[in-house]
Amino acid sequence: MSNAQAQIELANWQQSFQRRAQRTGLRVFMVVVSALFFLFTVAVITRSQYSDWQSLAEQPWQPLFDPWQLWLNTSTLIGSSLALQWARQSSAKGQYRSAAIAFWLAGGCALAFLFGQIWVWFTLASLGYVVGANPANSFFYVLTALHGLHLLGGLLVWSKIAVKLMHKTPLPQLSFSIELCSVYWHFLLVLWLLLFMLLTSSGETFNAIANFCGF
């Protein structure tokens, strides 16, 4: 084997090694995040069984009975996830322009989601549903904040890739990062949907879950 061939083989091997490591690292990280939110969910359900719990979606006058703001935010996060999927597929096909547009769109939607969540916080606070007023409120703020922080972490990686896209880095060098980014985004979307269900559940639903779990 010539020296040049050996170098190419080495580079390919290194790339595949790094990709396997990154993919595994991301999967392990998603397991850790799942454990974190699972434990929070257990805490929510346990705490909901105490008499002072006032669900945010129980009655028509409660702020999340008609959670249209959260639906709006959810749609932006779904949009973000879809756009990243589009970016992933475009980059796999080598379509630079559409990959870049979709990637930028995904970041924009994710940012809109985060601002939307802050908007919901302000709305709740203005209605008197501040963080310490009731454990249901407290969990709402804590869980949305933690989910937002995880998305913010994702946006840091997104911005690194975005800078490379701006500098016209060839797509084959970016497609794997875009793929991992999209996996993480989908994961955060599913996580958000579960949190959305949990946080807008009625007292009856909490009781049913708690009974089912034997609390």
Binding site: L10, W13, Q14, F17, Q18, R20, A21, T24, G25, V28, F29, V31, V32, A35, L36, L39, F40, A43, T46, R47, Y50, S51, D52, W53, V131, G132, P135, S138, V142
Partner: protein, 583 residues
């Protein structure tokens, strides 16, 4: 992985020793910081012992200070010493070298892991200087008392403690991601999972457990921090404090206990599993025998790791739980003793008719078996609800958990340090000082904790600052307490032997051979000692066998390194093939 793709070799002092991405440097950074924290924790224990052994003789040990020392001692020893040292120290040093990798798979994240740990240490140490001093809530930090007036450090003390823990968990997660991914993806050619040394298995499983258990501490810590700072009522019930009705309402202190111990019990095994793994290697190498029942040892590690998540409430028998709940947890607790006992038998069977070399690492390994068995047996007592309830608040429990997760793992820490010191520093330690260190520590710890079991059986309650006017406590307990205190101080001072030995030997010790113990695992086969940047020179090693080919019949030497193929093994007699080896 080839040589060139590792991160570049650092050139300046700053990037080489401080902002370093090299796993070996990070391991040493972790270890030195953890050992420093261990010394702080030991100092705290001395202060407590002074009060217990010689009540009211030392004015600075006030009741509040006593509880602050107790809390800081417990938290420092469990989290900032043992967890950090086993995973951050041993894990960082050993995993890449033992699996034949050039470094951790995410070196930058690994570096950040140490600096986050360091930050958590700084925040924790800052609690000694904040108004009110550190928290005195006990290492379990139970609400509601942890954040209410009357408990020492219930303002800034508890805030700094919880903040420090949250930062520590971020550090542990960064580290854990690296350890797990490195084991899964960066093993060199031929290094199958079932050829890995048990040290790696122990650290690997403990890392997985840390990644799954620390979130529970994160959740409970964060929620309590919010109860303290934002007035939420996650854990705080409606309560009157100092004659005032507080704003809290309806919170559940029991929820905290469940979350805390869902982390807390796996934490015992996060410390124990690396110790199990390392001690297996020490025993095998220094007894010149293959480890007995390797596969059983691996599956025991996995089983203990999995089961440790379903025993947590045995720490809560006195919380008033449903008796059926207690029965379940007593059963799981006794079941987890089975794989643990398998490991103990296998260590003993490895020693059986071995060519035992009583080196300092081996002495500590044997010391571990002894102390672990004692602590484990008392654990079987306490695992039963009916025995635990009367003993739960006595010194019997203090003696139990110090033997099983204080002394036993620290024996392995010492054994591991002496064992790998020649590879880390390139120098040999002073044997006489090492032996002295072992005997004082080993005999001393028995002198401390054996009487403590007896004091516990007499019903002497733990967590008390003073024992005035307790008629049921005989005067002999005072004498025993004085005796324990004197021994504790002697054992504590004797740890300076280790520090002096390591410090002196690093610079003036005899130059070490690359493989002074004639061990088989890969870390002893590096081209340079200490290993250089990238560990392996131009070519990574290739693995042909497990890590336990000792005293193989037909082989010229009593060990065959993992990277030697069968055809290259020197034979005792030409024409006589090797027998009974793993291929």
């Amino acid at each position: 992985m080839a040589y060139s793709d590792s991160h570049d070799a650092p050139k300046s002092f700053f990037y080489r020793y401080i902002w370093s991405q090299d796993h070996k440097v990070i391991a040493i950074q972790y270890s030195l910081t953890a050992i420093f924290m261990g010394l702080v924790g030991m100092l705290m224990s001395w202060f407590m012992r002074l009060q217990l052994g010689f009540p009211d003789e030392f004015d600075f040990v006030t009741p509040s200070a006593y509880y602050q020392f107790m809390t800081m001692h417990g938290m420092i020893m469990v989290i900032y010493l043992l967890t950090a040292l086993f995973l951050g120290g041993f894990g960082n040093y050993l995993i890449p070298l033992m699996v034949g990798a050039r470094d951790m798979v995410f070196p930058y994240l690994n570096m950040l892991s140490f600096w986050f740990y360091f930050l958590s240490v700084l925040v924790l140490m800052a609690s000694f200087f904040v108004p009110g001093g550190p928290t005195g809530a006990g290492w379990t930090l139970y609400p509601p008392q942890a954040i209410l007036p009357g408990t020492p450090g219930s303002d800034w003390g508890i805030i700094t403690m919880l903040t420090s823990l949250v930062i520590f968990i971020v550090a542990a997660t960064m580290g854990g991601l690296n350890y797990v991914t490195t084991v899964l993806q960066a093993r060199t050619k031929g290094m199958t999972l079932m050829r890995m040394p048990l040290s790696v298995w122990g650290i690997f499983m403990a890392s997985i457990m840390a990644l799954l258990a620390f979130p529970a501490l994160f959740v409970s810590g964060l929620m309590m921090l919010l109860d303290k700072t934002l007035g939420t009522s996650f854990f705080m019930p409606a309560i009157v404090s100092m004659g005032q009705q507080l704003d809290f309402e309806g919170g559940s202190p029991m929820l905290f206990q469940h979350l805390f111990w869902f982390f807390g019990h796996p934490e015992v095994y996060i410390v124990a599993l690396p110790a199990f793994g390392i001690v297996s290697d020490l025993i095998s190498v220094h007894a010149r025998k293959n480890i007995f029942g390797y596969k059983m040892m691996v599956w025991s590690i996995v089983a203990i790791g999995a089961m440790s998540f379903v025993v947590w409430a045995h720490h809560m028998y006195v919380s008033g739980m449903n008796p059926y709940f207690g029965f379940f947890f007593a059963t799981t607790t006794l079941i987890i003793a089975v794989p643990t006992a398998i490991k103990v038998y296998n260590w003993l069977l490895t020693l059986w008719r071995g060519d035992i070399h009583l080196t300092v690492p081996m002495l500590f390994a044997v010391g571990f078996i002894s102390t672990f068995v004692i602590g484990g047996l008392t654990g079987l007592f306490l695992g039963n609800v009916i025995v635990d309830i009367p003993l739960s608040d006595t010194y019997f429990v203090v003696a139990h958990f110090h033997m099983v997760m204080g002394i036993a793992p620290i024996m392995v820490v010492f054994g591991g340090i002496y064992h790998w010191f020649p590879k880390i520093s390139g120098r040999m330690y002073n044997e006489a000082l090492g032996q002295m260190h072992f005997w004082i520590t080993f005999v001393g710890t028995y002198l401390i904790y054996f009487p403590m079991h007896y004091i516990g059986f007499l019903g002497v309650p733990r967590r008390y600052y003073a024992y005035d006017n307790y008629d049921f406590i005989p005067p002999s307990v005072d004498d025993l307490n004085s005796f324990i205190t004197v021994v504790a101080i002697v054992v504590g001072v004797s740890q300076l032997l280790l520090i002096y030995n390591l410090a002196r030997s690093t610079f003036k010790g005899e130059k070490a051979d690359a493989n002074p113990w004639q061990a088989t695992s890969l870390e002893w086969q590096t081209p340079t000692t200490p290993p250089g940047h990238g560990n392996w020179g131009p070519e990574q090693p290739k693995v042909y066998r497990w890590a336990y080919d000792f005293s193989v019949p037909g082989a010229k030497h009593d060990f065959i390194p993992q990277n030697i193929p069968n055809e290259d093994v020197p034979l005792a007699q030409e024409g006589q093939p090797l027998k009974g080896i793993d291929t």
